[in-house]
């Protein structure tokens, strides 16, 4: 093995490159899938928590809503309030010891990261929904939409746009935090790196490579999400839906031409 730093790095990449790639792939699979499932959980919980309870509602409906909200609130607080590494140990080993459930390692990994992301996303989604101007809800109600329709077509699309940066944040946190799953034996990037480092006694070089890979993964994701956000915002420009130049002033006043230039 070469004696200088860069020489060792090249050597590690040449001989153990496959392990790093496999680790990185596993990390990304867990991060992406769990972020997605976490968002779904977060949306479900966030939506339930923002269902208005009205005075005139039936007693049973009120009781059920209160109970569900209490349970969801407890879920959010417990999973936000305890370390994921401890949860991973507790759930993976505890489920087989206490309940005799033999979770596969991968199922446990997806489960733990998803449910954690869900707990954080629930609060984010709630915030996103609350950030939408109440006028939007009133506008939707005024044309006869039900609560579900209002949420689905008016509020959630706007809330989703507003919380996109936070979803990106969660994805990046998940890419990094999957390393705690090494405690239950998932061969993700951290585990792979540690194995290489231990086998060849090259801690500094091995983790230097891991750091670079982690950074490339997170940086690429954050840029891609930025692009996606831009796409969601749509075009700044719009075309008048007519070819008749006279109708450009077909409002009742003719100042729109100027207004349009400003928009461009």
């Amino acid at each position: 093995m070469p004696q200088d730093f860069f020489g060792r790095i090249v050597y590690l990449i040449q001989t153990r490159g496959g392990s790093y790639v496999m680790g990185a792939v596993n990390t990304m699979i867990i991060a992406l899938v769990s972020t997605f499932i976490g968002c779904v959980i977060g949306f479900a919980v966030g939506i339930v928590q923002t269902i208005p309870i009205e005075k005139k509602d039936h007693v049973v409906k009120k009781a059920v809503l209160h109970a569900v909200r209490f349970i969801l609130g407890a879920y959010v607080e417990i999973f936000r309030g305890t370390p994921m590494m401890a949860q991973a140990m507790f759930i993976y080993f505890g489920s087989s010891a206490v309940f005799g459930i033999n979770m596969s390692m991968w199922f446990a990994a997806f489960f733990i990261v998803s449910i954690n992301t869900g707990a954080y996303m629930a609060e984010t989604v709630r915030g996103g929904i609350l950030s939408i101007d109440p006028g939007q809800t009133e506008g939707a109600k005024a044309i006869g939409m039900t609560h579900v329709q209002t949420m689905l077509y008016v509020i959630l699309p706007q809330a989703l746009r507003n919380i996109m940066p936070q979803i990106g944040n969660n994805l990046i946190i998940n890419i990094k935090d999957t390393c705690v799953l090494s405690v239950i034996g998932i061969v993700e990037l951290f585990y792979a790196t540690k194995s290489v480092a231990g086998a060849l006694y090259t801690y500094f070089e091995s983790f230097a490579i891991a750091m670079v890979i982690y950074f490339i993964l997170t940086f690429t994701c954050s840029r891609l999400l930025r692009l996606w956000e831009k796409k969601m915002d749509g075009n700044d420009n719009y075309d008048l839906a007519t070819t008749d130049t006279l109708t450009h002033t077909s409002g009742l006043y003719s100042y729109k031409e100027k207004k349009k230039e400003e928009d461009e």
């Binding site: 005075k55 005139k56 101007d133 006028g135 939007q136 009133e138 506008g139 939707a140 109600k141 005024a142 044309i143 006869g144 939409m145 039900t146 329709q149 077509y153 008016v154 699309p157 706007q158 746009r161 749509g234 700044d236 719009y238 075309d239 008048l240 839906a241 007519t242 109708t247 450009h248 077909s250 409002g251 009742l252 006043y253 100042y255 729109k256 207004k259 928009d263």
Partner: protein, 246 residues
Amino acid sequence: MSEQVIKVNHLSKAFGKHVVLRDIDFSVSTGDVTCIIGSSGSGKSTLLRCLNLLETPTTGEILYHGENIADAHTDAPAYRAKVGMVFQSFNLFNNMSVLKNCMIGQIKVMKKDAESAKASALAYLEKVGMAPYINAKPRQLSGGQKQRVAIARALAMEPEVLLFDEPTSALDPQMVGEVLDVMKQLASEGLTMIIVTHEMAFARDVSNRVVYMADGVIEESGDPAQIFTNPQNQKTKEFLSRFMRG
């Protein structure tokens, strides 16, 4: 004789201990254009919002074709689909284009198919002079344009009554003109409208009934010519004299 559409009996509304509306009696028949005037905080908007069930009245009843809609069993969305509302702050859906704004209610609430919804959305947008702007998003429009789209969106639901909550209060004088022109046209076509407004000239010229409110009470109501030239109530006199002086 035109039919009575909405009749309000002894309506009161309190937010906590703060009483906003007291014992309101009021009715509207088909084809009526009713303007509600009065200073800010007099309860005009709250009354209008009660009529659309955006606020639940504390006591009293609101009869819609003789049926009380102020009780707990009313299907509020179904009722609102028939009584449209135009807001001071427009409340267009920011995530949709002008055309989608006018189609969504028809498709999701009236269950029309996309094609006929589009056709009628286009017809109403044409009417308010916004047809060329169907691809624009609300944030790309001026206030007057937004309000005209909001009117088209409400009209697309083919409402029996259209409520206007200070539709021109957030606009500059030029835009006020363009929105009022659209409303005048609607009035001339016989649409039943209830309008909360500070535009006294509009109230005088377009409406066939004016209601003056102060401190949550209807102080005077009647023919616009009579109210504006010969108000009977002392408060109405003072209010109008302030307005007429400018």
